[in-house]
């Protein structure tokens, strides 16, 4: 296969399917297998660009989530009976604080249950991290429909603020050290924040000027009356949809206020969005193709999810293992094979082109 990078949406669909798969089970072996599959694909198909380096941070965040989950369980959680590991001095909170008991005996069962819950969330984060590392955010943005594109650019610019702020914070911190100033504490924070924000603001202005002089936000010439009409339609549509939602949620509302109102509002919104999309005059440079490898990636994610959904439906044992009494959970075969399919893109997709 000719080396190329795949469509960003394919990676996101794959990753989100994996995330949904993770939500179907608390079996630590299955979850571990899922994380390993994601890691394998990231290791094989991650480009060298700076945005692709975020996978590690997501994994670290996941580990932190597990630790926090376990600590919270020890302090506040409901005690599962069983093997006592150690005891934390317990405090009974007074009646007005809901009479909660803090601390108390910590059992192996409750720690393991907390670990599994945390692991599920951590694997979900790992999947999001995998998508972040595999799909270029800019290319993802470019494949969005026109109406979302401009909004998306605004978001990317806002997001690029963060890494820039980190970089200027490092420079300012170094500069402060040179002046022999504290870089910690309240005084340190103020001394850091002022120059960092000023630098970031200046850079944002420069970026805005650069985008403006390169045609960002151009529109097809349309009559002012048409534009006002479209804006009015958007406004009425949004109001109607909100009233509709209210009508659906509030059982006491008159019948016409519910689904009909909601449907009408949404229809108006869609129409005005489509009209706004037509105003955009953008064209696309080398749109990412969607070919067999993209279908393969999406299919691999879908197979994993389907395996777990079917297994849940059929009632395969071991998806949500019970830890009292303590026992090593079994690994159900069908879900495990399904999850392994998620790792297939690491081998059967085109390699990345070599960056010179």
């Amino acid at each position: 296969m000719t080396p190329r990078s795949l469509h960003p949406i394919a990676w996101w669909v794959w990753a989100l399917a994996l995330g949904a798969t993770a939500l179907q089970t608390t079996n630590p072996f299955l979850l571990g297998l899922l994380a390993a599959s994601a890691w394998l694909v990231v290791a094989a198909r991650r480009p060298s660009a700076p945005w692709a380096q975020s996978f590690g941070s997501f994994v670290k965040l996941g580990i932190a989530v597990i630790i926090v989950r376990i600590v919270l369980q020890m302090l506040f959680g409901v005690r599962l009976p069983g093997h006592e590991l150690f005891t934390i001095p317990s405090v009974d909170l007074p009646e007005w604080a809901a009479g909660v008991t803090l601390g108390g005996p910590v059992t192996a069962e409750s720690v393991i249950a907390a670990f599994n819950d945390g692991l599920q969330l951590a694997v979900l984060l790992t999947c999001v991290g995998a998508a972040n590392s595999l799909a270029s955010p800019y290319r993802l943005l470019r494949s969005m429909p026109a109406i979302l594109y401009e909004l998306g650019v605004a978001v990317t610019v806002a997001l690029s603020f963060a890494p820039q702020a980190v970089m200027s914070a490092q420079r300012v911190r170094e500069a402060r050290r040179l002046r022999g100033r504290p870089s910690r504490g309240l005084a340190g924070l103020r001394g850091m924040a002022v120059p960092v924000l000023e630098i970031a603001l200046e850079r944002s202005l420069e970026l805005a000027a650069s985008m403006d002089s390169r045609g960002y936000g151009r529109r097809a010439p349309i009559a002012a009356r048409d534009r006002q009409l479209a804006q009015l339609a958007t406004l009425i549509g949004a109001v109607a949809a909100s009233i509709g939602v209210y009508g659906i949620l509030d059982g006491a509302a008159p019948g016409g206020m519910g689904y009909p109102m909601f449907a009408g509002g949404v229809a108006l919104l869609v129409a005005s969005f489509a009209y706004a999309g037509k105003q955009s005059v953008r064209t696309r440079y080398r749109p990412d193709p969607w070919r067999a490898p993209e279908w393969l990636v999406v299919a691999c994610g879908a197979v994993a999810l389907a395996a777990l959904l079917v297994a849940t439906d059929v009632g395969v044992a071991g998806l949500r293992p019970d830890f009292s009494p303590l026992a090593v959970p079994t690994v159900p075969l069908l879900p495990a094979i399904g999850i392994l399919a998620a790792a297939v893109p690491a081998f059967l997709t085109p390699a990345l082109p070599v960056t010179r």
Partner: protein, 535 residues
């Protein structure tokens, strides 16, 4: 092509016009250079060409600017994109996409260019700027010279008739600057593009200009033939200063023309000895020692085994390409980076283990962007804070500042100062506690010739007071004016270290203009020649 019709402009909340009554006509296919002192309004003039001034900045404009038949009064900058391409001072701040190829396509996507045309224009732009090998590179990994070329390519793809460049070579080392200038000449000559550029480093670009627009201190603009305009321009590169001194006519703008005009002067100077009005080697005590210093960032080696000694009373220039390890060496000297191996000692102590309080009395570093050092809301606020932090007598930072740059308004915000004034303030804050070793990283960015001259005098005085001054710089003219000793780094190693005159005079890259014109005699600056001629 570009016509300013009695145009004047005032920024919001300002009491005087940034540009006053500008009448200007720039013809098609011309390379017009905008010249003026810092803060004279060069950027304002450039940004008025595509309407960023006043559409983006706000303010009041009178008169009009018409580009290719379209007036900026009625056409916003985004619609001008197909006519005018603008590249700002810091190209990396303007990047939107994440790879070079996407960045080049960005403007065309916005303009709704046909996909087939887009493909062709991207390829053409890659070739025109010689960046075809960078096409897949993430923008964050480009060097500053590459980034500048990508930024130019990213506006060229819209097939504009006019290219506006704000300081295209200021931040670059001499080699990268040459690449940019070669590309610009190609654009002017092959594509017939009209280029309007502002630049402080006139010695690099003035010879390529077809006409020069000079902005005086009151925002008035005059335009004319380069050698006529340079005769009286408020800023002038050494070649022009030498030409003015020797009264050459027509005034030469390039080293080549000056060499042809300079034969009589060379004869006159032949039997006189250049310098040494400075001592050849400093004999002061050693204040800093670097031994076997090695450092790397990931797999990129920045320094491999550098040995350097610094003595009090000497000004040392640290030269070399971008990425040769200059900044790393300075930050190791200042103790802000722990070297992989090797040792640094400042007055017998390791800068990493000295308390910050004591460290500022031994070594001070002015970073490339001096504003990172400043965070108070006024000039006086900075001085008072510096006094308090270093336990100095009240008013001592202010008097240091007055010695560097007298009469700075105490109420002004540091961000509103000119580049030169801000550098002076940062320098005062660093020098106030009395460091014995003073380090400056790229101090001349954005400085005009008079500000550089002032800086050179100040650094000389610091050295004569018994400090060791080290400046990392690309600016060979500043090195010629102030340095006693020059160290050239390449690929993390010291390739030459000796008296500045010996190191720079015979190098084709590092030789200042005067020594190129007067070779084989070893003259460095116009001031030296002036002193010799007047004897």
């Amino acid at each position: 092509m570009i016509r300013f019709d009695r145009m004047s402009f005032r920024y919001p909340d300002q009491s005087r016009d940034a540009l006053g009554d500008v009448d200007l006509a720039i013809e098609e296919g011309e390379l017009c250079l905008v010249v003026g002192e810092t803060g004279a309004g060069k950027s304002t003039l450039l940004r008025a060409v595509n309407g960023l001034v006043p559409h983006f900045t706000g303010g009041t404009m009178h008169g009009g600017v018409v580009v290719n038949g379209r007036s900026t009064a009625t056409v916003p900058p985004r619609e001008m994109a197909s006519t005018v391409g603008v590249v700002g001072q810091d190209p990396t701040a303007g990047f939107v996409a994440d790879t070079v190829e996407d960045e080049l396509a960005y403007v065309m996507e916005n303009l709704g260019t046909d996909p087939a045309v887009m493909r062709r224009r991207v390829e053409d732009a890659l070739d025109l700027l010689s960046i075809a090998d960078l096409r897949d590179r993430p923008l964050a990994t480009l060097s500053s010279g590459e980034a500048q070329r990508v930024a130019i390519a990213s506006v060229i793809t819209a097939a504009p008739r006019v290219l506006v460049l704000d300081e295209p070579t200021s931040a670059l080392d001499p080699g990268a600057a040459e690449d940019i200038l070669a590309a610009l000449t190609r654009l002017v000559h092959d594509l017939g593009l009209t280029i309007i550029a502002a630049e402080h480093r006139l010695e690099r670009i003035v010879q390529y200009a077809d006409r020069i627009a000079v902005i005086d201190g009151h925002g008035r603009v005059t335009i004319g033939d380069p050698s006529d305009m340079m005769r009286t321009a408020p800023v002038a590169p050494p070649v022009v200063q030498l030409g003015r001194l020797a009264n050459w006519n027509p005034l030469p703008l390039s080293v080549r023309d000056a060499r042809r005009a300079g034969e009589p002067l060379r004869q006159e100077l032949a039997d006189r000895k250049a310098g040494p009005h400075r001592q050849a080697a400093a004999t002061g005590d050693v204040v800093a020692t670097v031994r076997g210093l090695q450092h790397s960032y990931g797999t990129t080696v920045a320094l491999r085994g550098v040995h350097v000694e610094l003595r009090e009373g000497e000004v040392v220039a640290l030269m070399g390409r971008n990425g040769a390890g200059k900044s790393t060496l300075l930050s190791a000297l200042a103790g802000s980076r722990r070297p992989r191996s090797g040792s640094v000692s400042i007055l017998g102590g390791n800068p990493r283990s000295i308390t910050p309080r004591e460290l500022v009395r031994r070594v001070g570093l002015v970073p490339p962007d001096p504003s990172t050092l400043l965070y108070e809301q006024s000039v006086d606020g900075e001085c008072i804070t510096a006094d308090k932090e270093h336990g100095l007598a009240p008013g001592s930072t202010r008097s240091t500042l007055d010695a560097i740059q007298p009469g700075l308004d105490p109420e002004r915000h540091p961000r509103d100062l000119s580049e030169g004034e801000r550098l002076a303030l940062a320098l005062a804050v660093v020098v106030a506690p009395g460091p014995r070793v003073l380090l400056l990283d790229e101090p001349t960015r954005g400085l005009d010739y008079s500000a550089k001259e002032r800086l050179a005098r100040v650094l000389r005085r610091f050295a004569d007071d018994g400090r060791a001054v080290v400046l990392a710089t690309h600016d060979v003219e500043l090195v010629a004016a102030v340095a006693d000793r020059a160290i050239v780094l390449a690929d993390g190693e010291v390739v030459s270290d000796g008296p500045a005159r010996d190191v720079v005079v015979h190098s084709p890259v590092f030789a200042p203009q005067v020594s190129k014109i007067l070779a084989p005699s070893e003259w460095l600056t116009v001031a030296e020649v002036e002193a010799a001629v007047c004897q």
